[in-house]
């Protein structure tokens, strides 16, 4: 075997081996009593109950509920974060005025807001998880928007002004192309945070969605189902991330970082 083919087969075989070893370990350990079988069922049972949930069609409703909350949270976060971030990045006055409130709000662990949100929205409606997700998702996007607009090439800006470009033209040809890569990164970071917080709200408070399903199966002692749902949540997180990466590649097809990737160079 040549070095190249060996490397290629290693690139496929090793990850596979890793997955198989971990799965086998968690299959065998509960069966031989290394892990308590009562609270830690073998993986085959976990995947079995996940398959049961899918077959019974009981997985889709909570996933749709979770994604619905996530989408609304992202929408609210964008409406707040992008204008505020642009203001902070584009103007010194804006940056100075907004700095302290933003720096004070950012390190607050977002889950600390849960009790206040229960107070304001009640424990049942999806407003709670949407507000929680929106709060957490605002900050990554806000900072990316401010970096993005601050990155506008001053020469290009002056040129646009000298040529008398209208506001809409400036937005289309100057602001948007500079900001988009930053916003794409911001969306990806915010999306992960929002999804985590939406599911957290569901799990802690019992708002309908994937998180509440975990909570109910935990209280019912249906542990293999509980683990199955946790795995489903992880897969959902992966899917959202992969989906956004693909969207980023499409939208930024023209951008040097993506062109370099397409041509096989590292940017």
């Amino acid at each position: 075997m040549t070095t190249a083919t060996r490397q290629r087969s290693e690139a496929i075989l090793l990850p596979l081996l890793g997955v198989v070893v971990v799965l086998a370990a968690f299959e065998i350990a509960p069966r031989i009593g290394v892990l308590p079988r009562q609270s830690f069922p073998p993986v085959s049972e976990i995947f079995g109950s996940l398959a049961d949930l899918i077959a019974a069609g009981e997985l889709w409703t909570p996933i749709v509920q979770t994604l619905d909350g996530w989408l609304r949270a992202m929408l609210i976060a964008s409406v707040i974060a992008i204008p505020v971030g642009m203001l902070m990045g584009a103007s010194r006055v804006g940056a100075l005025t907004l700095r302290l409130p933003v720096e004070f709000l950012r390190p607050i662990p977002s889950v600390a807001l849960i009790p206040v949100l229960i107070l304001l929205y009640g424990p049942q409606g999806s407003a709670l998880k949407i507000a929680l997700g929106a709060f957490g998702a605002t900050f990554p996007l806000l900072f990316q928007a401010s970096y993005g607009i601050a990155d506008i090439d001053p020469v290009a800006r002056d040129t646009a002004r000298a040529f008398g470009l209208k506001f809409r033209q400036r937005l289309r040809h100057l602001v948007l192309p500079t900001m988009l890569p930053y916003l794409a990164t911001g969306f990806r970071l915010s999306a992960a945070v929002a999804l985590i917080l939406v599911i957290t709200g569901e799990y802690i408070v019992g708002v309908p969605g994937l998180g509440r399903e975990v909570l109910t199966s935990q209280s019912a002692g249906a542990y293999s189902q509980m683990y199955g749902l946790i795995i489903a949540a992880g897969l959902l997180g992966l899917a959202v991330n992969i989906g956004l990466q693909a969207a980023e590649r499409r939208v930024l097809r023209w951008h040097p970082s993506q062109r370099a990737r397409l041509e096989g160079r590292t940017p």
């Binding site: 690139a11 409130p101 390190p107 889950v111 600390a112 985590i196 935990q218 992880g234």
Partner: protein, 278 residues
Amino acid sequence: MTMSRIGSGARRAQGTAMGGLTRSRVGRIVLQLLLPTALVLAWWWTSRGSTSYFWPPLTDVIGSIRSDWLFDQFMTDLVPSLVRFTLGYFLAVGVGIAAGTLIGLLPRLRRATSPVTEFVRAIPPPLLLPFVIVTLGIGDFSKVVVIALGAVWPVLLNTVDGVRSVDRLTVDMARSFGLGPLRRIVHVILPGASPQITVGMRIGLAVALILMIISEMVGSTNGLGFRVLDAQRSFDSAGTYGGVIVIGIVGLIVNAGFLVAEARIMRWYRGSRGLLDG
């Protein structure tokens, strides 16, 4: 020449009113304090005399912070929270750096573990809580484990990346000078990876804080998270707002402490990159 004068003239004309404010030291301070002061005043003004359960007067909120946290619940709730947080976080940092270094140094191990680490990282950290509660119960130990289990991934994955990106030439140089593997790791590889490791530690810090609060909201009898949720459940709305503010302040202090420590420990790095003193 003419072009640039037109440009700068336009900009100067545009920014005169506010330009003066941002240039003077006092003006900058005034600008920075403007919005926070306005917000606090607005809160105080709109909530003054309010009898609404959802919108308690700001003075009541401040009163509840003073009566609850100075220092009634300081030893019984704040200190246990911080102890569990510290133990869990440093456990995560230790394990994350050790395992991350090992994985980063062994490319085959990295290939074999990457699908598993990528997947575990994708699981929302708060969902580690049901897993740990079911296996370890709800004691102090299980809370420390939850915090560590959530915070370890950003540290580990960033350490892997940091170790991989250490300059090969430096490592080979150290080897040819006869440094053994352990000394190479301590003196060459870890310092080289440390900028990336600190990035991971900072992300881990935020995750650890979140898990500290969450783990106290489910099946607990003390701690910051327990107190705020308890205040909400006993219809003490001023106490709820007060508790959230206290958690916010704790978050601020922990983050500021991290930044100070990072600045001290990483001083050599910024010096080597010419980033000190402006």
